[in-house]
C-alpha cells in the first residue's frame, strides 16, 4: 500500500488535517478532541514552543510572544501593503528580514514566516501520526485561490521546514468542491463562500470534465470570525463598565477570558437561541473584592451586533459576481465553507443573495482538509479516487516585459496547470549582446502595473543587427503552481533560467538550516518526554516501596536481616525520590535497577509475612 498522504488546510486562524480512509475522507481530532487546531504559535517564558490551543489560550496575556494569522504574511515582501496592515494590527513585533522578507520576533528569537507556519504544519502532522500510528511524510496543503507564486512557494518551504514533502498545493475552493464530490457528479459554475476565523473569500469555480477553473476570486483578508468575537467582547466590556465602572480591557487576564467566552458563546448560538456567559471573579478592585460577569445573550442580539460584518461579505460577493459578469442564476451550486458559516444569519443572507439554499455539510470548517486528503490519495494511488481528473488553473497571466514597457503574456490566466509555453523574441538594438528577462504576473498591459516575479540576464549573444538574434523564452508552471522561466539563445543553445521565488522567500541554505534546527528541537522535546515518562514510572515505584516500608520494617524487626540492610534500602529510596524530584535523567537511570530489586524484595517480604 502506498504511503498515506494527509490533507492539510493551513488556515489563517485554524488548521485542519484529514486522511482518506477507504473512500471516506476522515478529519482527525487532536488530543483535546478538537478537529481544528488554532494556527497560533507562541514562545512561553520557559522558552517552550507552544502550538495550537495552548498557544491560543495565552494569546492575550502573552500577546507580544504569540504569533497568529501569519498566513496574511506568508510569501509577502516587507514593503507590501498587506504586511504593513498586519504590522499595525498585531501586538507581536514584525521586522524586515535579510531578503526584504518579514521576520517575527518572539522572546528575542527571530523566526521567518514559513518557520511559524511550519510549526503549525508539524502539529497537524503529529496529530495525523498519532491517529495513524505511523510516520507521515507527504501532504497536500491548501492555499487561497488568490495566492501568488511567492506565497505558494513559501507555503511549500514551510512544509520542508516541518519535514513534510508537500506533494501538491491546491486551491481552497477547489478542495472544498472536491469534498462535496463536485467534478465527478457536478459540472457547472459553483460559488464557494468561505468565511473562516480571520478571512473571507468568495470564489467562483467553473467545473468542466474534472477541470476546476477559478473564474473569479475575491475577499477580505481582515474579515472573519474573530471580528464577530470582538463585537461580542465590546458588548460585554461596555455592559460591565456601565454596571461596575470598571474597564475590563485594562486587565489582560480578564480580556483573555472574555475573548474565550465570547467565541464559545458565538459558537453555542449557532445551535441554541440563548446562552449564558458566566465569568466568575473576572476582576477585583485591589483588595480581592471579586467582580463576577454574568450575562445572557440571545442569537438575535449577536446577529444585531454583527449584521454589518455579514452584510459586508454579501457586498463582496455582489461586486465579485458583477466584475466576472456572472449572475446568481448562472450558478449550479453554492457551497459554504468555514466555521462562521454555521451562523444562521450568514446562511440566511447567503441564501437570499444567491437565490438558492446553499450546500452545507455538517462541518464547514473541515471540508477543505477533506478535499485535500482526497487529492492526496489520488496523487499516490489512482485507484483510491477513480475517475478523478483534477486540474487546477493558474489564477494570473504570466509574461515578460518587452520594449516600451509592455506586458507580453505567455500564459493566459485560467490555463490549466501544469503547463509550459514558449515564445521567440528578437533583439531590439544593434549589437545587443545581452537580454534582460523580467517576468511578471497580472492582467495589466503595462508590465510595471503587474507583480514582479523575478529577473535575469542572458548574455553572450552574437553581435548583430537588431531583430537578427533570436531568444526563446519559456514559462513553465508545475502542478503546484510554481513558476520557472528560462531563456535560450537559439544560435548557441546557451540558457539561463530561474525558478521564480518572490523577493520575500528563503534561500535553500536557510530552509535547510531551519529544517535541521526544527528537527533538533523535536528530538530534544521527545527526549524530554522520555525522561518524564521514566520519572513517572520511577515515582510510582518509589510510592509503592514507601508504602510497603513500614510493614517490611515490622516484619524484619529482630530478624538477622538487620538494620544495616534496611538503612541501605532507605538510601536507595532517598536517591530515587531525589532523582524524581530533580527530574535528573542520569539519576533516574541509576536508581531504576536497585529500586526495582528493592521493591521486589519488599513484595517478597510482605508476601512471606502474610503467609506466616
Amino acid at each position: 500500500m502506498p504511503e498515506r498522504v494527509i490533507g492539510i488546510d493551513l488556515g489563517t486562524t485554524n488548521s485542519c488535517v484529514a486522511v482518506l480512509e477507504g473512500s471516506t475522507p476522515t478529519v482527525i481530532a487532536n488530543r483535546g478532541g478538537y478537529k481544528t487546531t488554532p494556527s497560533v504559535v507562541a514562545i512561553a517564558e520557559s522558552g517552550k514552543r507552544l502550538v495550537g490551543h495552548i498557544a491560543k489560550r495565552q494569546a492575550v496575556t502573552n500577546a507580544e510572544n504569540t504569533a497568529w494569522a501569519v498566513k496574511r504574511l506568508i510569501g509577502r515582501p516587507w514593503t507590501s501593503p498587506a504586511v504593513q496592515a498586519v504590522k499595525a494590527a498585531v501586538p507581536y513585533p514584525l521586522v524586515e528580514g535579510p531578503h526584504g522578507d518579514v521576520r517575527i520576533r518572539l522572546r528575542d528569537q527571530m523566526f521567518s514566516v514559513p518557520e511559524i507556519a511550519a510549526y503549525v504544519l508539524q502539529e497537524m502532522r503529529a496529530i495525523a501520526e498519532e491517529y495513524l500510528g505511523k510516520p507521515v511524510s507527504k501532504a497536500v496543503v491548501t492555499v487561497p485561490a488568490y495566492f501568488n507564486d511567492g506565497q505558494r512557494q513559501a507555503t511549500k518551504d514551510a512544509g520542508r521546514i516541518a519535514g513534510l514533502d508537500v506533494i501538491r498545493i491546491i486551491n481552497e475552493p477547489t478542495a472544498a468542491a472536491l469534498a462535496y464530490g463536485f467534478g465527478k457528479k457536478v459540472d457547472g459554475k459553483v460559488a464557494v463562500f468561505d468565511l473562516g476565523g480571520g478571512t473571507f473569500d468568495i470564489s467562483i469555480l467553473d467545473i468542466t470534465n474534472g477541470v476546476f477553473e477559478v473564474v473569479a476570486t475575491a475577499g477580505d483578508t481582515f474579515l472573519g470570525g474573530e471580528d464577530y468575537d470582538k463585537r461580542l467582547v465590546d458588548w460585554l466590556v461596555q455592559g460591565f463598565a456601565k454596571e461596575h465602572k470598571v474597564d475590563l480591557r485594562s486587565d489582560t487576564m480578564a480580556l483573555q477570558r472574555l475573548k474565550d467566552a465570547a467565541e464559545k458563546a458565538k459558537c453555542d448560538l449557532s445551535s441554541v437561541r440563548e446562552t449564558e456567559i458566566n465569568l466568575p471573579f473576572i476582576i477585583s478592585t485591589g483588595r480581592n473584592q471579586a467582580y463576577h460577569l454574568h450575562r445572557v445573550i440571545t442569537r438575535s442580539k449577536l446577529e444585531e451586533l454583527t449584521l454589518d460584518l455579514t452584510e459586508r461579505t454579501i457586498q463582496i460577493c455582489r461586486l465579485t459576481m458583477e466584475d466576472a459578469g456572472i449572475s446568481p442564476e448562472d450558478l449550479t451550486e453554492v457551497v459554504l465553507v468555514g466555521g462562521m458559516t454555521r451562523m444562521c444569519k450568514v446562511q440566511e443572507l447567503v441564501g437570499e443573495f444567491f437565490g438558492r439554499e446553499p450546500c452545507k455539510g455538517v462541518h464547514p470548517d473541515e471540508v477543505v482538509a477533506m478535499g485535500a486528503s482526497i487529492q492526496g490519495a489520488a496523487l499516490v494511488d489512482a485507484a483510491a479516487a477513480p475517475d478523478m481528473l483534477l486540474l487546477d488553473v493558474t489564477p494570473h497571466s504570466l509574461g515578460i516585459m518587452v520594449a516600451g514597457g509592455h506586458f507580453h503574456r505567455l500564459i493566459e490566466r485560467n490555463t490549466t496547470v501544469p503547463t509550459a509555453k514558449s515564445h521567440v523574441f528578437t533583439t531590439v538594438r544593434d549589437d545587443q549582446t545581452s537580454v534582460k528577462i523580467v517576468a511578471f504576473q497580472g492582467e495589466s498591459d503595462r508590465a510595471e502595473e503587474n507583480e514582479l516575479l523575478g529577473e535575469f540576464v542572458l548574455s553572450g549573444l552574437r553581435k548583430a543587427a537588431k531583430g537578427e538574434v533570436e531568444v526563446e523564452v519559456t514559462f513553465e508552471i508545475s502542478a503546484d503552481g510554481i513558476v520557472s522561466v528560462s531563456a535560450q539563445d537559439m544560435e548557441t543553445g546557451a540558457e539561463q533560467s530561474i525558478t521564480v521565488t518572490a523577493a520575500s522567500s528563503l534561500t535553500e541554505s536557510e530552509i535547510a538550516r531551519m529544517a535541521s534546527e526544527n528537527q533538533e528541537h523535536m528530538v530534544a522535546a521527545r527526549a524530554e518526554e522520555e525522561v518524564e515518562k521514566e520519572r513517572q514510572r520511577i515515582e510510582k515505584l518509589v510510592d509503592e516501596a514507601e508504602t510497603l516500608l513500614p510493614k517490611v520494617e515490622e516484619i524484619l524487626a529482630g530478624t538477622p536481616f538487620g538494620e544495616d540492610s534496611l538503612d541501605n534500602v532507605r538510601l536507595i529510596l532517598d536517591d530515587a525520590r531525589m532523582a524524581v524530584e530533580r527530574r535528573d535523567a542520569g539519576g533516574l537511570e541509576q536508581v531504576a535497577e536497585p529500586l526495582m530489586r528493592t521493591l521486589n524484595m519488599f513484595r517478597g517480604v510482605v508476601d512471606s509475612g502474610r503467609i506466616r
Binding site: 512561553a44 477585583s284 483588595r287
Partner: protein, 289 residues
C-alpha cells in the same frame, strides 16, 4: 455525513465540570458518562469518567487521608502576619490559628478555633471541614500594615529567616505542604511591609520557594479540574490570577502547560497553583498518556 455530536458532547462535559465544582459528583459523573456514550473515543470525557468513578468509590469506601504530622509547619505563623492576614480582603489561604498537632505556639495567635484545618494529601476531596478557615468580614478591625503593629524590623527579619529555614528543611524532608506554606508566608512578609534587608533574603530564596511551590502543586503533568466554584475563591484569600488559572482548567491541560499558557511569570503562576492546591480549589487528574 454523521450527526454532529460535538456541541452536545461539549455541553455535557462542561455541565459535568460545573456539577463537580459544586460538589455534585454523581450528577457530574452522569453527564460525563452520557458524553462518553456519544463518542467513546473522546479523551476528555473518558478521563473525567475515570476520575469520577474513582472518586465515587473513594467516597463510598469512606476513604479519608488523615492529616499527617509530616504536613504541619514546625514553627508557628508569626503573630503579626497572622494579624494582617485576618483582614478579609487580604486573607491568604492559611490557617489563622494554631496548627494542628504543631508545637505550642510561641505567642497567642488569635482566638479563632481553626484547629480543624489540615494539610491533607493533594488528592483529598475538599470539604467544608478541611478547607482553609475563613474569617468573618465583620470581625474586629485589623491593621493594614506592619507599621501599625508592635513589631520591630528585627522581628520580621527573624521570622522571614526562620520561614526560609523551615521551607528548606521541609523540602529536604519531602514535606511539600509545610515547605510551600513557609514559602508563601515568607513571600507575604516581603510583600506586605517590606523592611530593609528582606528583599535580599527573599531574592536569594526564590529558587527554593519555587521548588517548594512546585513540589506542593503536584505532578506537573497532572491535569487539574476545579473542585470549588471560582466565585468563592476570593473568600479563600485568592485573587483574580487564581480565578484566571481556574478558568483554564479542563482536565486536559497539565499544570506545566497551564503555567506555560498562563502568561504569568513562572514563579507567580507556580505560587498561585500552590495556593489553589492548599485551598483545595482544584483536583488533579493523572497525566495524559
Amino acid at each position: 455525513m454523521a450527526r454532529d455530536v460535538t456541541p452536545e458532547l461539549r455541553q455535557l462535559v462542561q455541565r459535568g465540570l460545573d456539577h463537580h465544582e459544586h460538589g455534585r459528583l454523581h450528577d457530574a459523573l452522569a453527564d460525563w458518562e452520557t458524553a462518553l456514550k456519544l463518542d467513546p473515543r473522546h479523551v476528555q470525557a473518558k478521563r473525567l469518567v475515570e476520575f469520577g468513578r474513582k472518586r465515587a468509590r473513594e467516597i463510598d469506601a469512606g476513604e479519608h487521608t488523615a492529616p499527617s504530622r509530616r504536613d504541619t509547619l514546625e514553627s508557628p505563623i508569626p503573630q503579626f502576619l497572622a494579624a494582617l492576614t485576618e483582614r478579609k480582603s487580604d486573607k491568604i489561604a492559611v490557617p489563622t490559628g494554631p496548627l494542628q498537632d504543631g508545637p505550642t505556639p510561641k505567642g497567642p495567635l488569635g482566638e479563632s478555633p481553626s484547629s480543624e484545618f489540615d494539610w491533607g494529601g493533594p488528592d483529598e476531596r475538599p470539604s467544608a471541614r478541611n478547607r482553609a478557615k475563613t474569617v468573618n468580614a465583620e470581625e474586629a478591625a485589623v491593621p493594614d500594615t506592619l507599621e501599625d503593629l508592635p513589631v520591630t524590623v528585627q522581628d520580621i527579619l527573624a521570622s522571614a529567616t526562620e520561614l526560609v529555614g523551615e521551607c528548606r528543611a521541609a523540602l529536604n524532608d519531602n514535606r511539600a505542604a509545610p515547605a510551600a506554606l513557609a514559602a508563601e508566608l515568607a513571600m507575604q512578609l516581603a510583600e506586605r511591609a517590606p523592611p530593609p534587608g528582606i528583599d535580599d533574603l527573599i531574592e536569594q530564596s526564590r529558587a527554593l520557594f519555587e521548588r517548594a511551590f512546585r513540589a506542593f502543586a503536584g505532578n506537573p503533568h497532572g491535569c487539574p479540574i476545579r473542585a470549588i466554584p471560582t466565585a468563592t475563591i476570593a473568600d479563600q484569600g485568592l485573587d483574580e490570577r487564581a480565578a484566571f488559572l481556574m478558568s483554564r482548567l479542563d482536565g486536559m491541560t497539565s499544570i506545566a502547560d497551564l503555567i506555560d499558557s498562563s502568561g504569568l511569570p513562572r514563579f507567580d503562576a507556580m505560587r498561585v497553583i500552590s495556593s489553589l492546591r492548599r485551598a483545595k480549589a482544584i483536583d488533579l487528574l493523572p497525566p495524559l498518556q
